[in-house]
């Protein structure tokens, strides 16, 4: 069994941690930015979302709100897909090499 420090020096471990950290924080900040933009528009100028789209009774805010809900799910989905495709395999190799 390799020591904790040995595992930390394994290039695959470094690669896994770097890749996951970069993706995780990027997506976290992206989510936060989208949500804050949404809330701040509502706080400072709600009329932007109240504007009607053409002659329809639909307002800009409706598709935007729906978009935030859907994009939240898609962001999680992207991360999970990425993790299933690459991180799990890397993790398996690291665990294997550490035995």
């Amino acid at each position: 069994m390799a020591s904790w420090q040995d595992i930390e020096r394994n290039p695959k471990f470094i690669e896994l941690v770097q890749a996951r950290k970069t993706l995780g924080w990027t997506l976290s900040i992206l989510t936060l930015a989208i949500y804050l933009a949404y809330i701040l528009i509502i706080a400072f100028d709600p009329s932007i979302f109240g504007a009607r789209m053409g002659d329809s009774v639909m307002t800009v805010g409706l598709p935007v709100g729906l978009f935030v809900i859907v994009i939240t799910f898609l962001i999680v989905g992207y991360y999970v897909q990425k993790a299933n495709a690459t991180y799990d395999e890397l993790t398996r190799q690291i665990v294997e090499e550490s035995k």
């Binding site: 896994l16 509502i42 706080a43 709600p46």
Partner: protein, 559 residues
């Protein structure tokens, strides 16, 4: 005043409540006639879940079974159970009721509920599963001195659970009074006793299956209702909106944000409480220990996010459907000349009346039973997490120094469950008139200011020490509590001080208390030169490798 109330309510949108809901829960509800199909379907649900509890009790021999269902829940099942924990009756009735009252504003609430889930996925779920066994304190205390961190985590858990639990009990009592025509006190006792049964005998296995069944029933019921609304308007959203705009006294204004989130600081503070409170709710965090590994934990959040997002879209359609179909039908109104606001039982009954309008008495009974089942499931999850904090963190680790025998630990859990159940019944009756919205807002703010910073920093920052965690955690906990008490919603509305005299001018303290917690964790860790601080930092490598790879993690059912 109404603006203040609006902001306060926004603060609480966190899980369950709306201003209308709060009003409905502060004594204005009147008893309905006894609804036979609703009671029949509710009894069927209770019998089914008690059967599951009996089956679960036979399986629940070990502590791992009791706390974490032996790690044998799949990602999909856990996703449903998390959704079940999160979609409370009040978010179903409350948000659809808010949409009924003010249209678009309901959607702002829904969005706020959902955006915390990516954070849970990216930063919390996998390390949590890799490091922990039964409670999030296992993770937060991984490399630190056990006693102080466990005490801190148990305080954070119990305070969060207590406020959340009272809110649910009061909500349950009021809703049952409305739905079934039972007395408030009976309703609270029924919920409390059933909850004790599920948790005490069935542990996590029974609690999980109660959540799953309830989530399926709620999703099916809400889907059917939304579909019937759409069918009624020829599957045309524009048709639905046109009818709603015509029926609502605010007309086109219901299609735009209406000022619930009006102060930018309050808005951001609230947003943070919502987003990060989710990642600090002990009963949600506990769910990640019921799956086999980090991969299943990750998948379960994806499923949960999908179900919850879908559910919130449904509540929006249901709310607009209620404007179009309930507000225009005199049989659902106490006074037809007053229109929309005169809805029988208050705006929280919008979805219930809509069920009758689109599906008749039988469907009304179904939806009523689902609403009650929902509360029952949520309080079970909360009670289990509170009981685990007492037995696993306080009893086994702090009092017995980690040498508690497993049987004793589970016994302490069961005793705690009964005690918590009795306390919840008692407080539920005592706080009959309390503003539920306020209690829930408090629970989320505390979770975001105490549990979340300690958990996140312990996972992310090598140089964090025991001292930093304890000081930061307690500062977050206490400042969140003080911030809420001094905020207009409590200082003015509850304590009756003069308007405008609130020492803390914002509706939600999270922006300040959460920041304070992070800053204190950082400063006190940096200043900590004790021998313990060195041990804390030396423990990082083992924690880091295990959190990233799962090497050495608790197996699926090995405990």
């Amino acid at each position: 005043m109404s603006r203040l109330k609006g902001i306060l309510a926004t603060a609480t949108l966190a899980a369950l409540s709306t201003p209308a809901f709060a009003d409905a829960l502060t004594g204005q509800t009147q008893k309905q006639e006894v609804n036979i199909p609703a009671i029949a379907m509710f009894v069927a649900f209770v019998l089914l879940t008690l059967g599951i509890t009996y089956w679960a009790a036979k399986q629940t021999k070990s502590a791992a079974q009791f706390y974490a269902a032996g790690g044998g829940i799949t990602g999909f099942q856990n996703g449903l159970a998390i959704a079940g924990d999160y979609m409370s009756a009040a978010s179903f009735l409350g948000i659809s009721g808010l949409v009924y009252l003010s249209g678009y504003d309901g959607l702002i609430y829904s969005v706020g509920f959902l955006v915390g889930w990516p954070i849970v996925t990216f930063l919390i779920a996998e390390p949590l599963r890799n490091l922990g066994k039964y409670t999030f304190a296992d993770v937060a205390s991984f490399r630190f001195e056990q006693t102080p961190i466990r005490v801190l985590a148990a305080c954070g858990t119990l305070v969060t659970v207590a406020f959340y639990l009272i809110a649910q009990m009061v909500g349950a009592g009021q809703l049952i009074k409305l739905l079934f025509g039972l007395d408030y006190a009976y309703a609270v006792v029924i919920v409390g006793v059933l909850m004790i049964f599920y948790v005490m005998f069935g542990g996590m296995v029974a609690t999980t299956w109660v959540q799953i069944i309830k989530a399926c029933l709620l999703l099916a019921g809400a889907s059917f209702m939304a579909l019937m609304v759409m069918v009624h308007f020829g599957l045309s959203l524009t048709g639905l909106f046109n009818a709603a705009i015509a029926a609502h006294p605010k007309h086109q204004a219901i299609m735009a944000p209406g000022g619930f989130v009006s102060n930018p600081v309050s808005a951001v503070s609230l947003g943070l409480a919502l987003m990060f409170g989710t990642a600090g709710l002990p009963h949600i965090l506990m769910r990640f220990f019921t799956v086999a590994d980090a991969k299943a934990a990750r998948k379960s959040v994806l499923y949960a996010t999908g179900f919850i997002g879908y559910f919130y879209i449904l509540t929006f359609i249901i709310g607009f459907g209620a404007i179009a179909l309930v507000a225009t039908n005199p049989s659902y109104l106490t006074d037809a000349s007053k229109g929309l606001l005169a809805i029988k039982g208050g705006s929280n009954m919008a979805a219930i009346h809509l069920a009758d309008a689109v599906g008749g008495n039988l469907f009304l009974g179904f939806i009523s039973a689902v609403a009650f089942a929902t509360i029952l499931a949520v309080v079970s999850g909360l009670t289990l997490s509170g009981a685990s904090a007492v037995s696993h963190d306080l009893y086994a680790t702090v009092f017995k120094g980690g040498r508690a025998n497993e049987q004793d630990e589970v016994r302490v859990s069961k005793i705690t469950t009964v005690v918590l159940g009795v306390i919840a019944i008692f407080l539920g009756i005592l706080f009959e008139k309390i503003n539920v919205a306020f209690m829930v807002g408090l629970a989320f703010a505390i979770a975001a200011s105490c549990n979340f910073p300690v958990l996140l920093m312990s996972l992310m920052w090598k140089n964090m020490t025991t001292k930093g965690a304890v000081v930061g955690g307690f500062v977050g906990l206490i400042s969140a509590l003080i911030g809420v008490v001094l905020s207009p919603g409590v200082w003015v509305d509850v304590l009756g001080n003069a308007k405008g005299s609130a020492p803390f001018p914002y509706a939600n303290p999270a922006l300040f208390s959460m920041t304070l917690a992070f800053v204190c964790i950082w400063i006190f860790s940096k200043m900590d030169t004790s021998a313990r601080a060195k041990l804390d930092k030396d423990g990082w490598d083992a924690q880091y490798v295990r959190s990233q790879t799962g090497i050495g993690a608790s197996g699926a059912s090995s405990h």
